[in-house]
């Protein structure tokens, strides 16, 4: 008996899928902004001369990079309430994504910062700039331009990784797919479509990032 594919039954569930896509985009957008901000702060701390701070951030980075996102998510959503921290599904999802992206982008941005020629920092200092001013006006810009392609890939990975947030019932795209297949009993078709949507989101996200890169870094982004 051959299986007959039926994608038409998905049409009835378009609103659910649209909601899922919108939520995935929202989760990704919020956690990208906060995660990269955390990464910039983390990279500044990691390269600072304050030793304990650098060590602490280093431990955070290694702890996050060597454990699965799913376990981090479960720890935040199921584990933290026993400390009295109760989060809604989407809050837990955003927090986990921010912490995760924060660790990876700390490491990525640090590589960009360390590639800054020493002479530029000295030049900034000789102009009477303070440490934070040098970081803000001399180091950060070129560092971000250098690591932009790597950061783009990492954000795409975090967006794709957000699919496991369906497991704490955050209502994003994978959750929508699970919901629909529990109604129409067409798992293959539903997941096929959801996968295609993720692929489109990944392509779109890369496009947005390359556009932003071209806007922000006048001299262009180094190509990896």
């Amino acid at each position: 008996m051959a299986y007959s594919f039926d994608f038409s039954s998905l049409l009835d569930h378009t609103p659910v899928l649209v909601d899922g896509v919108v939520t995935t985009i929202g989760l990704t957008a919020v956690s990208t902004v906060l995660g990269v901000a955390l990464g910039i702060g983390g990279a500044a701390a990691r390269t600072s001369t304050v030793k304990p701070l650098a060590v602490l951030v280093g431990a955070y980075v290694e702890l996050i990079r060597n454990t699965p996102f799913l376990v981090q998510l479960f720890f935040i959503f199921f584990g933290l309430p026993s400390l009295g921290i109760r989060l809604a599904e989407w809050q837990a999802a955003v927090l986990a994504m921010v912490i995760n992206l924060g660790a990876y982008s700390t490491e990525i941005i640090r590589a960009g910062i360390e590639a800054t020629p020493k002479g530029q920092i000295e030049a900034g200092a000789s102009l009477g700039m303070t440490g934070p001013q040098i970081f803000r006006y001399v180091v950060l810009g070129p560092a971000m331009a250098k690591i932009w392609p790597a950061l783009t890939s990492q954000v795409v990975i975090v967006m794709l990784g957000s699919s496991v947030c369906s497991q704490i019932a955050a209502e994003e795209l994978s959750f929508a797919a699970n919901f629909i297949q529990s109604r129409n009993f067409r798992p293959f078709e539903v997941y096929f479509l959801a996968t295609a949507l993720y692929l489109a989101l990944a392509v779109g996200l890369r496009w947005v990032f390359s556009l932003m890169g071209r806007r922000m870094f006048a001299k262009g982004v180094s190509r990896a």
Binding site: Y3, E62, L63, R65, N66, T67, P68, F69, L70, V71, Q72, F74, F75, F78, G79, L80, P81, S82, L83, V156, L160, G161, S162, S163, V164, S166, Q167, S174, A177, P187, F188, Y191, F192, A194, T195, Y198, L199, A202, V203
Partner: protein, 216 residues
């Protein structure tokens, strides 16, 4: 009510961690073999092969591992293969690993100077001979650190297979939590087990990279 000691929890998690390790090994080895074939297709002189390999890599790098696992889980029965969580997890992770390793190794192959290709071509070596005797031995040297580094992603990827019902350490953690009502402790321990598996791999990847940079 039944009491669970720390050792009860930890020993059960460690028993489940065996399956995490085994699945990681299977995925890494079979993904490595498949990745090598994919790499050969990706850099081969035959355009359709190159395009197909590129498409495969783009699709697997542009979609979530969870969706890949679901599709494998529900697609294998369509072609008449009975699916268990084991087979779906192994097949899904193998394809995922193959795509990433092929892309990593392509970078290494492209780092081999073009003159090497031309020199070996001028000696009338075929594509297979060029790869076997000239290109791969040189690419292999620089491929080791990123490959070891990627193995961390494979180990972490096995956590996602818990969602399709494969009982490894994350799934065991969920099951134990349901019995003990101690999610903070249990997921904390699960995280530490992953850390114990992954951190040595990360460290050795870093050490290998440093060694390679010194050698160059």
């Amino acid at each position: 009510m039944l009491e669970f000691t720390l050792w009860d929890i930890l020993s059960n998690l460690l028993l489940a961690a065996r399956w995490t390790v085994l699945l990681s090994l299977i995925a890494f080895v079979s993904g490595g073999v498949a990745g090598l074939l994919l790499l050969l297709a990706r850099v081969s002189p035959v355009p359709p092969l190159r395009v197909a390999a590129r498409l495969f890599i783009e699709v697997f790098q542009g979609t979530p591992l969870l969706m890949q696992l679901f599709i494998v889980f529900f697609a294998l029965p369509l072609i008449g293969i009975e699916t268990t969580a084991w087979t779906a997890a192994a097949v899904g992770l193998t394809l995922f690993t193959a795509a990433y390793l092929a892309e990593i190794w392509r970078g290494c192959v492209e780092a081999v100077p073009k003159g090497q290709w031309e020199a070996s071509a001028s000696l009338a070596l075929t594509f297979g001979e060029q790869m076997r005797h000239v290109i791969l031995p040189q690419a292999l040297r620089i491929a080791v650190p990123p490959t070891v580094g990627f193995s961390v992603q494979v180990v972490k990827g096995t956590a996602v297979t818990s969602i399709i019902g494969f009982v490894e350490v994350t799934k065991a953690g969920t099951m134990i939590t349901n019995a003990t009502f101690q999610p903070f402790l249990v997921y904390g321990l699960v995280g530490l087990i992953y850390f114990a598996l992954c951190y040595p791999l990360s460290l050795s990847a870093k050490a290998l990279e440093r060694k390679l940079n010194v050698a160059r």
